[in-house]
Symmetry: C2
Subunit: 228 residues, 2 copies
DNA sequence: GTGAATCTTTGCGCCGGCGCAAAGACAGGA
DNA sequence: TCCTGTCTTTGCGCCGGCGCAAAGATTCAC
């Protein structure tokens, strides 16, 4: 199947020697976040770029009056708020710690210096940005072209690939996601997600356990998500 | 109002001297496209990155069986298919010339050399990719949170800002966009777009003329697109 | 200028999925 | 242990907007 959790520290720092990595990390400020803590909020002036070291951040974008779009979950080795480096702008999303999370932050000036000293950094950032762009384009297309249930399946699979952990035959998404969050990720409502997961639970495709979602039959889900 | 057509050659080559620009351009291959010609097709192996010099490209992503997502129109100074540089992948979209269009192309190897010789290039590409990411995130959110008519308004305004030309009090989108294309851009159907534009035409907000859309009252459209 | 091909408009019926409401399940605190 | 707050499930009704169909408008080739 897919590789799980293999973003181990090589996204942003790929291609750099151990010494260079140490040098870069030394310039950063560590930030420790408790479960649910907000690292930055959409609309605040963007001053720092962050790298996740341990744990997981949830990036979400708000719409006027309520609705929310869950952009993605990011884990160790992934960078967020690159926009802060390039121009004086506002954070485009809100970043919340899913569990206890450790991040490193660099301010604009420092990051600019690092980027000109280590061109690999810029390159890695570009690489990452392009991957995300591709993913978002696909999600946009799916949002318009596919039925909700199919999209819920794709969402679960995406999250599973990024943050799944094998446990016997099953795959556990080992942080709690509420129905509401899955709905915000998929672009639907918590009611629809609930109904969908209930149906799949009856079919034996997934299981819920203490707030965590367990994918019992990934293959069935993949087939379902790709059926035309 | 917004600036129109001011992407004049400074997106990708920003921060470089006239000589450096000339040097970079010399390495590229010019490609001349007639109206409707396809520069590259989604799914083909991505070998070259292109810069639009004159005219306009339409970037669209296909879904199995019919549906299409019009990602964006790009004009002079804008780069497409950066993905080709970074990894051996497939083109994620299809690029079609809207009118007669002139582009410059660089292959992977050449572009890599240029990027390490002129770090500004990588930086400019990153900048551009991040802007597009932000825009797409907003569009995704809108697609789920807003009513169709509102989204059609936003689409028209976006295209207007990127490719509008003032003509008296009105703003002309000076290349032909069909109802189908506007629907693909917005994430709806040509029927709905047609109905919506008809209604706005009666209100005197827009006008259609020989395949071109003319925005008569941009302010009304802006208000409508932002109403909660 | 005429005919063919393409694009646009509009009437009409239907349905996916949204969202209220109310009940049920679960977790955490004292 | 019970109580309180939060999350989840499910029944039910409603409606935005999709999509067929057919007519009308416009463009293009020759």
């Amino acid at each position: 199947m897919e590789e799980n959790n293999n973003n181990t520290n090589n996204d942003f720092l790929r291609g750099l020697s151990r010494e260079e990595r140490a040098e870069i990390m030394k310039c950063g400020t560590a930030v420790d976040l408790k479960r649910g803590a907000v690292l930055f909020r959409q609309g605040e002036p963007a001053t720092r770029t962050f790298l996740v070291l341990e744990g997981r951040l949830k990036l979400a974008k708000l719409h006027e009056e309520g609705k929310e779009f869950l952009v993605r979950y990011i884990g160790p080795g992934e960078l967020t708020s690159m926009i802060a480096v390039l121009q004086n702008r506002e954070y485009p999303v809100t970043a919340t710690a899913v569990g206890a999370t450790l991040v490193a932050g660099w301010d604009r000036k420092r990051m600019m210096e690092l980027m000109s000293e280590y061109p690999e950094l810029t390159f890695n950032m570009l690489h990452h940005a392009l991957e995300r762009l591709e993913e978002l384009q696909s999600r946009y297309l799916e949002l318009h072209a596919e039925q909700v249930e199919q999209r819920v399946a794709r969402s679960l699979l995406r999250i599973m690939r990024q943050s799944g952990r094998k446990s016997g035959d099953e795959i556990v998404i080992d942080f709690p996601i509420s129905r509401q969050e899955l709905a915000d990720y998929t672009g639907t409502t918590l009611y629809t997600v609930s109904r969908t997961l209930s149906a799949w639970e009856k079919k034996g495709w997934v299981r819920s356990q203490s707030g965590r979602i367990i994918i019992v039959d990934p293959h069935a889900l993949v087939l379902f998500s790709e059926k035309i």
